[in-house]
């Protein structure tokens, strides 16, 4: 039989001990390292991918014990995928979400309440308006990441060409109609008003402030058949008949057009500045000379409204690493690095903080556009009745809006059909 010498046995013992210790240390080190799954569309879109990847890299550098597994899912798919993943018991740790989808996910009861995770210091730094809308049954279910309210963008060059005062944008619907008539007459190839009239939940979110300024609330009992709603639908029909809007285009399709002076007024979010500048390569100074943004022209209610179209971050209750997830969420939404290199650079949006975390960032946020949004537009934000009825309701309401815009069916009939399809 093969026999080992005493020396060889000792060497083998020492080698196996070292190997065992090495494996044990590696395993324990791996056990300390946390991997977070982050479902988001920022990584799915070419325009924002470099920004989010840089921010994730920076976070991992600052937190070597946490690795982020970014899962890129398109904006239009993310709600469906997250609901299906929740149902199959396989949700990510953190997800980017927006609009009604946030509340749909909350309805599953599988979002971790953030109140227990957020420290009081961070809470005190947030502007209350940025998070109050995300409380469900008194619990905070989503953390505001970027704030992107909508305002009325106006192209000063187009206004000037139409003989209008470029520094005096319309303040009422009547003024808007007069201005659009002048624009249509002087520049027939320009779309006077860029408005999203597609049939999707986002379109209702975008059109909600216009319904509100007419005093309409289609979700209320009898609301779709109300006089206010009929007035709104009639106004939409008038816009289409006079060729003031280009129906069927998604809001994103108007952005490159306003960058080329092909749209006069655009009802869109704060992030438009970034899209326009990336299209026409304008400097900041030229941009502010060429474009302006103001509050929505008031309708019969006499009030201006806006909608908040920013993005939120949610943590799932099934996550085993909620503390690490919160650390990541906090970094994305409030760290100076993420604000500078993502929120401002790639989303061109506002932050949920009351004030900028540094003087350098304060200077970057001190622009005519950000100031208009912060001081004038954000206070007019109204939240649509998000929840399980919003998505099916939006199909019924926007189908009615499309019927008003594109057909000749009497408005009374359209209003009655919306009411019926809403099941009010």
């Amino acid at each position: 039989m093969f026999r080992l010498s005493k020396m060889a046995r000792r060497s083998a013992f020492v080698a196996s001990t070292i190997l065992s210790l090495g494996i044990a240390v590696t395993v324990s080190h791996a056990a300390d390292k946390v991997t977070l799954t982050f479902a988001n569309w920022a990584d799915a879109e070419g325009a924002t991918r470099p920004g989010i990847q840089a921010v994730i890299k920076e976070f991992e550098k600052e937190n070597p014990d946490i690795t982020i597994n970014s899962q890129a899912i398109s904006f239009s798919e993310i709600a469906r995928q997250l609901v299906l993943r929740v149902r199959s018991g396989n949700p990510p740790d953190v997800a980017e979400i927006a609009g009604n989808d946030t509340f749909l996910l909350a309805q599953t009861g599988k979002l971790a309440p953030l109140d227990k995770l957020i420290d009081s210091k961070t809470m005190a730094e947030l502007a209350p308006a940025s998070y109050e809308g995300y409380k469900v049954d008194g619990k905070l279910i989503a953390f505001p990441w970027t704030l992107a309210a909508a305002g009325l963008w106006y192209d000063k060059a187009v206004m000037q060409k139409a003989g209008l005062d470029p520094n005096n944008p319309p303040k009422t619907i009547d003024e808007l109609m007069k201005d659009m008539a002048a624009i249509k007459k002087s520049q027939p190839d320009v779309i006077p008003l860029g408005l999203d009239t597609t049939n999707r939940a986002f379109s209702l979110q975008s059109n909600w402030p216009w319904m509100k300024t007419f005093g309409a609330d289609p979700f209320a009992k009898g609301g779709a058949k109300s006089e206010a709603m009929k007035k709104y639908l009639s106004w939409m029909r008038e816009l289409a008949k006079k060729g003031y809007i280009d129906p069927g285009r998604k809001i994103g399709e108007f952005r490159p057009l306003i960058a080329q002076d092909k749209v006069a007024f655009l009802w869109d979010q704060v992030l438009v500045q970034g899209v326009i500048q990336s299209t026409n390569k304008m400097s900041d100074a030229d941009f502010y000379k060429h474009y302006g943004v103001t509050t929505q022209p008031t309708g019969p209610s006499g009030k201006s409204y806006s909608f908040e179209g920013g993005h939120q971050l949610v943590i799932f209750s099934g996550s085993k690493h909620q503390k690490a997830a919160w650390k990541f969420v906090k970094f994305l939404a409030t760290s100076p690095y993420a604000i500078e290199h993502y929120t401002l650079s790639y989303e061109a949006s506002l932050t949920p903080l009351k004030k900028a975390p540094s003087d350098a960032l304060a200077k970057k946020l001190d622009t005519p556009v950000f100031n208009a949004f912060t001081s004038k537009i954000m206070p007019t934000v109204t939240t649509p009745p998000y929840g399980p009825k919003f998505a099916p309701g939006s199909t019924a309401i926007m189908a009615g809006v499309q019927q008003a815009v594109t057909g000749d069916t009497p408005i009374d009939q359209i209003a009655a059909s919306i009411e019926q399809n809403l099941g009010n």
Binding site: V83, L84, L104, A391, Q402, Q403, T406, G407, T409
Partner: protein
């Protein structure tokens, strides 16, 4: 030697007397049956079960049995009936138009030979090679009110005085999508009918010529009867395919404006994946399945008759 007349059907050859029957061979189909049961059987049965329940995926509660409640709702749901009407118009309109177009082109190019035939065939088959989503976006941009090539050409020719809202007019949107669909589907019919035309025996054509058959009688009396079975089977296949067409409609109008281009597949998609109402969506899915089964049975029967 006994002569077999054309009237007498040819009997199949009898099995060899000493051919051995091995029963275990029958069991070889078992894996296929299991796979089909899992991949097709289970979803169909589960859809049937779901169609009798109230089930919203967001509620995180199990489906609740409501019997025929969803089917009852279906009969009073105006959107369902609009979708069904649109599906029928879209499917039959597209198939009839593209088959006629394919047939006409096949007949027109029949006499071409050599490089001419190859070039024309390659040109006519190009739309078939374009993915449906690309077709949809291509036509969507062509139809645009501002900047669309179709309106630009019509305006330049003086045929219209203002741009037409092709996809944003309740009456024009469905026909406009059908035009895109016909353009994409026509090569399928062209290809099949060209092959069927080539298979017509030369003797038949020659004898018709000797009998001095004119162009129209040659087409209607001689060629069309030979093409009937190819036309019938290809149309049935395309009816089934168009019944399920989602990509073009979704990419071009998302079922709008209003519900003017909402077909069953679009409606089911909205119910299931936007509203997460799987119970009602399943009920519509069952009706849809029954309609498709009818077409599939007709198709199978037609194929059997041909064989």
């Amino acid at each position: 030697m006994s002569a077999t007349t054309l009237d007498q059907p040819v009997k199949p050859a009898p099995a060899r007397k000493n051919a051995e029957r091995a029963p275990w061979i029958d069991w070889m189909v078992l894996p296929t049956v299991v796979v089909l049961a899992v991949v097709i059987g289970y979803p169909v049965v589960y859809t049937l079960v779901l169609s009798a329940t109230k089930y919203n995926m967001l509620d995180m509660v199990p489906p609740r049995y409501i019997g025929g409640g969803n089917y009852q709702h279906l009969f009073t749901d105006p959107i369902f009936w609009t979708s069904l009407r649109n599906t029928a118009l879209y499917t039959f309109g597209s198939v009839i138009a593209s088959s006629l177009l394919g047939l006409t082109l096949a007949l027109l190019t029949e006499s071409l030979t050599g490089w001419r035939f190859r070039s024309v065939r390659a040109l006519l088959l190009t739309p078939w090679a374009v993915p449906f989503v690309v077709v949809a976006f291509l036509f969507r941009y062509m139809y645009l009110q501002n900047g669309g090539v179709i309106n630009a050409v019509l305006l330049d020719l003086g045929l219209i005085d203002k741009p037409v809202l092709w996809l944003n007019n309740s009456y024009l949107a469905l026909p406009a999508i059908m035009v895109a669909n016909i353009w994409a589907m026509m090569p399928f019919f062209f290809l099949l009918l060209s092959a069927a035309l080539a298979a017509i025996p030369n003797e038949v054509i020659e004898s018709a010529r000797i009998d001095k058959a004119g162009t129209w009688s040659m087409v209607f009396q001689i060629k069309l009867p030979f093409l009937r079975s190819a036309l019938f089977i290809s149309s049935l296949l395309m009816i089934i395919s168009n019944f399920n067409d989602f990509a073009k409609i979704w990419a071009m109008t998302q079922g709008g404006p209003g519900y003017s281009t909402t077909t069953l597949v679009v409606y089911v998609y909205r119910l299931a994946f936007e509203n997460f109402n799987f119970g009602y969506a399943s009920a519509i899915g069952v009706v849809w399945l029954i309609l498709l089964l009818i077409f599939a049975l007709v198709y199978l029967r037609a194929v059997r008759v041909q064989v």
